[in-house]
């Protein structure tokens, strides 16, 4: 997977019907300086690892049943 770049996120913002995030905020996702919980690139790298795990037919978590 290629490293995330600002142009990709600006494309999401401008072409995906997204809220109009400021350029500086888009930059923050690519090069975090504010101490967001996890850097976005690091998060994407981890999600890429998880994408390769076969979850078989496991459904998304729903409400918790008392049974």
């Amino acid at each position: 997977m290629k490293k995330l770049d600002k142009q990709t996120l600006m494309g999401i913002r401008d072409q995906f019907g997204s809220y109009a995030w400021e350029d500086a905020e888009i930059s923050e996702l690519v090069d975090p300086r504010l101490g967001i919980i996890t850097g976005f690139q690091e998060l994407l790298d981890q999600l890429e690892v998880l994408r390769k795990v076969d979850l078989e037919a496991t459904p998304p978590a729903g409400d918790i049943s008392s049974k």
Binding site: L9, I12, R13, S18, Y19, W21, E25, I26, E28, L29, P32, L34, G35, I36, I37, T38, F40, L43, Q46, L47, V49, L50, R51, L55, T58, P59, P60, A61, D63, I64, S66
Partner: protein, 453 residues
């Protein structure tokens, strides 16, 4: 020697009410005086309603009803809970003009139990963050050391109880936002099974991870408040420590943890062994990606809620929360769904763990309260953001939805409380509180009161 009234648990206050030694009016006045004295220092409150509280106290005193579990007990709530006719700001400029049209269900329950609402607590803006920092209302300090954090996001709720400004507080817990600040401030933090307390009328952060929780001075108090808030009661099996099987996670939950915290937890485990409890290893699912899974659920859900305000009021959000929401915008739908599927696997794995044990025991936090303004903390050579560290041992159980309670079990040489976390089975909330009460009453540890000068 009895506890000073401002720091007395609800159980003790109830006894004094019933003995006629104390009236609700006197108690509300005591807290009101203390709020005048410590309100500014503690930064615990965003708004107060002491006039209504005094009126209600007078009515209660005229004809005291012993049957109500919280009759005359003054409490506060995180400023995410709607109280009819009063502002709910979520600690944000965005909602400065937001006046609630009706009470949140949890507030209705507290009213029904006789509790007296006194005010709304400060918080990390919209509950986004575990440090409790708030640029608009200030950062609540720790009652044991004002140079340190109370912790968050229910920071003001912890400070309010910790500084002796009310008897109990309601908070919300999406990754540890009740349990972590309670632990750092020497209180009992309780997060029930997901869904057992209504979140209706509470501003959401992340619907599928949010839990309403309680901050109290004891496990017995947590029981009283929980029983007033819960949906249907669940049967609680007869519990004693002698027959208890306690799971001790083999990995992650005892790693990268302050040495003195580990020593305190070891001492508690020794006590439990001596009582006859069976402590055995618990083989938990891999925790390697759990924070990422949680974040992948949190941020799109948060964005989805806040989308209603962004167009008109987006400029009023704090910079860091906006950045978090922007992150939520850039995740793919399949990544969100996959994260939810991982959560289902965590739940299935935990079902297998709980087939072998009654409860799981972990430290509540790997660190004591960090200094205010500190961005990162380092333990065992591993550096991470302070907010991540504070919630490192708690956030997993928001995903799995298990009930969890934290209670003080030691005092660090730096003068700050240390806490243990006990995690129970789904809908085993009542039994979990039973166990916490047994530990609380049996373990020879008494937390000193904070020296507030």
């Amino acid at each position: 020697m009895s506890t000073p009234l401002a720091f007395a648990p609800i159980t003790e206050i109830n006894l004094r009410f019933r003995n006629g030694d104390l009236g609700a009016n006197e108690l509300v006045n005591l807290y009101t005086d203390r709020i005048e004295r410590f309100g500014e220092i503690s930064k615990a409150f965003i708004s107060l309603d002491t006039k209504s509280a005094l009126s209600k106290a007078e009515i209660i005193d005229e004809s005291f009803n012993d049957d109500l579990p919280l009759n005359g007990i003054p409490y506060a709530c995180k400023d995410l809970f709607d109280v009819k006719g009063l502002p709910t700001t979520a600690g944000s400029q965005v909602l400065q003009d937001n006046v609630a049209q009706q009470d949140a269900t949890a507030i209705k329950c507290m009213n029904r139990a006789g509790a007296i609402y006194i005010g709304k607590n400060n918080l990390h803006e919209f509950a986004y963050g575990a440090t409790g920092e708030n640029t608009l209302y200030g950062t609540p300090p720790n009652p044991y050391d004002p140079s340190r954090l109370a912790g968050g996001s229910s920071s003001g709720s912890a400070a309010a109880v910790g500084f002796g400004l009310c008897a109990a507080a309601l908070g919300t817990d999406t990754g540890g936002s009740v349990r972590a600040p309670a632990s750092l401030c020497g209180l009992v933090g309780f997060k029930p099974t997901y869904g057992r307390i209504s979140t209706e009328g509470v501003i959401p952060y992340s619907w599928t991870l949010d839990h309403v929780g309680t901050l109290t001075r004891s496990a017995a108090d947590a029981r009283l408040v929980f029983e007033s808030l819960r949906f249907e009661p669940q049967p609680s099996a007869q519990t004693d420590l002698h027959n208890l099987t306690i799971g001790i996670p083999e990995s992650f939950f005892f790693e990268r943890c302050d040495r003195e915290i580990l020593d305190s937890i070891d001492a508690l485990m020794n006590f439990l062994r001596h009582t006859g409890a069976n402590l055995k290893p618990a083989f938990m699912p891999s925790m390697e990606y759990t924070r990422s899974v949680s974040l992948t659920v949190q941020m799109p859900e948060a964005l989805s809620y806040h989308n209603r305000y962004l167009e008109q009021r987006g400029h009023l959000y704090s910079q860091d929360f906006r950045a978090g929401l922007a992150l939520g915008q850039c995740l793919l739908a399949e990544q969100y769904i996959r994260a939810k599927r991982f959560i289902e696997t965590y739940r299935n794995d935990m079902d297998r763990v709980f087939a072998e044990v009654d409860v799981i025991l972990t430290p509540a936090t790997p660190v004591i309260a960090p200094k205010i303004g500190v961005v990162e903390v380092t333990v065992d050579g591993y550096t991470e953001p302070a907010g991540n560290a504070i919630t490192r041992y708690t956030s997993f159980f928001n995903m799995t939805g298990h009930p969890a309670i934290t209670l003080p079990c030691g005092m660090h040489s730096e003068g700050l409380p240390i806490a243990v976390q006990l995690v129970g089975k789904h809908f085993g909330d009542e039994q979990l509180i039973d166990i916490a009460q047994l530990v609380e009453s049996g373990y020879d540890f008494k937390l000193p009161l904070p020296d507030l000068g």
